[in-house]
Symmetry: C2
């Protein structure tokens, strides 16, 4: 590998001068500038970020921890995070937890050892160990999707959005409304969206049959299963189903269609998240749009903002959402 020293030698200058040239710091005469430029071009020299950051204490790398990369939400978030970060000369180093909470912590350590300048965490489960690990961090961290005390966060208004969607069913005079959620361990998606649903039902004066409240995972298959469970729970069928993710909703739709139900004639169904395909399936899925792109952008901007500041101010941003009414309701 060619180093700054060799460039210096070839250009008849010292490495300090080359460094000054490289970083536009301090004087370097027009003449030597030309010489250095030529040598660098002809050798194809690229300075080692490695060595640079050992010295400067900043790596221009942001760690991004995601639960899974192959979901619409994650990939959209990472994509928009990357767009902003790249503009500012940062790069992303990825850490995938594969939905394993322990890995969240391991990854936090890993990123620390890489001396990242900041961390963005697409959070799923929040546990005390995680929080403690975060508190030990010396670099700023921004969490996306889950509220973490003492940490800057970009949040969805999970509660209110779920409530709104349920109310929408109410307005359409649905009475028999089923719910498919996920583990309440996941506070945002599991707990808050369920709470929104329950509170809305309460305000609507509707009865919530526990048999019509199911729990699924984050995959299509389990949405299908949950719908099956609900449909087979009793004689009567719900006339509406609210699913806390689009994936679950699509799995559920699959079951319903397969069993001859008309959507939304027999059963109305709504999802959450406005996945790219929700618009293109038939019937097009009514869902909640949480503006992921914007959330990613905000997270990126927030982390950049926090880097370098000695006193990190804690910010909490709640993203706007909107209900997208399509054909499934």
């Amino acid at each position: 590998m060619i180093t700054i020293k060799e460039i210096a030698k070839l250009a008849n200058a010292s490495s300090s001068t080359v460094s000054r040239y490289l970083n536009d710091s301090g004087y370097v005469s027009e003449e030597t500038r030309k010489r250095i430029e030529k040598v660098i071009k002809s050798t194809g020299y690229v300075p080692s970020e490695q060595a640079k950051s050992l010295r400067t204490k900043q790596t221009k790398v942001i760690g991004v921890i995601v639960p899974r990369l192959s979901t619409d939400t994650s990939s959209r978030l990472v994509n928009s995070i990357n767009d902003i970060l790249a503009e500012q000369g940062y790069q992303i180093i990825l850490a995938n937890t594969n939905l394993n909470p322990e890995k969240e912590i391991a990854n936090l350590r890993l990123l620390r050892s890489r001396q990242v300048d900041g961390i963005i965490l697409l959070a799923t489960n929040i546990n005390p160990t995680l929080i403690k690990e975060i508190e030990n961090l010396t670099v700023p961290l921004v969490a996306l999707g889950q509220e973490i005390p003492g940490i800057s966060v970009i949040l969805n208004d999970d509660y209110q959005a779920a409530k709104d969607m349920t109310k929408l069913f109410g307005e359409q005079s649905h009475q028999d409304i089923a719910f498919i959620g996920v583990s309440e361990q996941d506070r945002a998606v599991g707990h808050l969206r369920k709470k929104g649903f329950l509170d809305a039902m309460n305000e609507l004066g509707l009865y919530v049959d526990p048999k019509w409240v199911a729990e699924a995972g984050f995959d299509l298959q389990s949405g299908y299963q949950a719908m099956k469970t609900i449909a087979e729970a009793k004689r009567q069928k719900p006339t509406a189903v609210f699913a806390v993710t689009d994936t679950i909703a699509i799995g559920a739709m699959h079951y319903l269609l397969e069993h001859g139900y008309d959507i939304p004639g027999d059963v109305a169904i709504a999802g959450t998240g406005n996945s790219r395909v929700s618009e293109y399936i038939r019937p097009a899925l009514t869902t909640i749009d949480f503006s992921n792109e914007l959330a990613g952008k905000q997270a990126a901007e927030l982390i950049i903002d926090q880097i370098g500041k000695k006193e990190l101010s804690i910010k909490k941003v709640v993203m706007p959402y909107s209900i997208i009414e399509r054909d499934s309701v």
Copy 2:
């Protein structure tokens, strides 16, 4: 930041001893081992990969260049690449080209400056500048999806797969078959798949009407548009459409359904890529599965294999594919 020196001091040892302990290299007595262990635990010390790799000349980081992260194919590939790499103690640093060929080169430089141990390139357009830049690389590079002379590649059998799919239409006695491709700049997706289509048509003895050969981008909207163009091109309508990506196919389906065509009754349609949703849209999309997960895995294994070897052997792997017949044909 706490350093190895401070650990050494606290543990009453020298930094070399601590280093030996850390890396299990050379002797460390049981006693000092215990002491060091305790200090590390109590301080939460994490060695700086930064400094380490400056010395050892390996970063345990692989650069991954993707055209866009927010597509099914990319995110699945990156996900499986990451799974394998993480197992082996590697991490991924992402570089997104946003489909901009110039950025491919800029990113190559960027990754070089980060001293990555290897690079995986999800290639789209291959141009001479790119190839030259790759040749200048000192680290191994594995390309995914496009053939690049002199480089290890993981390929799809784009040509044969497209041919097979077209033949499938032929077997079903379709005669009026339309084609929606992408720019032939993209050799794999644009050129080879089109060639496969054309050759199959030729072998089937079918006429290819240029009016029924359209070009789209990589988004749903342009699939919709391309279908519109074809449908409005002349009085007669095709009875089958082959699209070179699922996204395009879904956009096209959208147009057809919207205009009252029955799929596959009036028009049969097939996509390519087996996107996660292709199974869940209605009618379920017939498509080609290129086993992305496996491809990502192979790419990761290949790059690990090449790291450290002085003589990098050039391998070319063609992934198996299969046609998934569903309801749209």
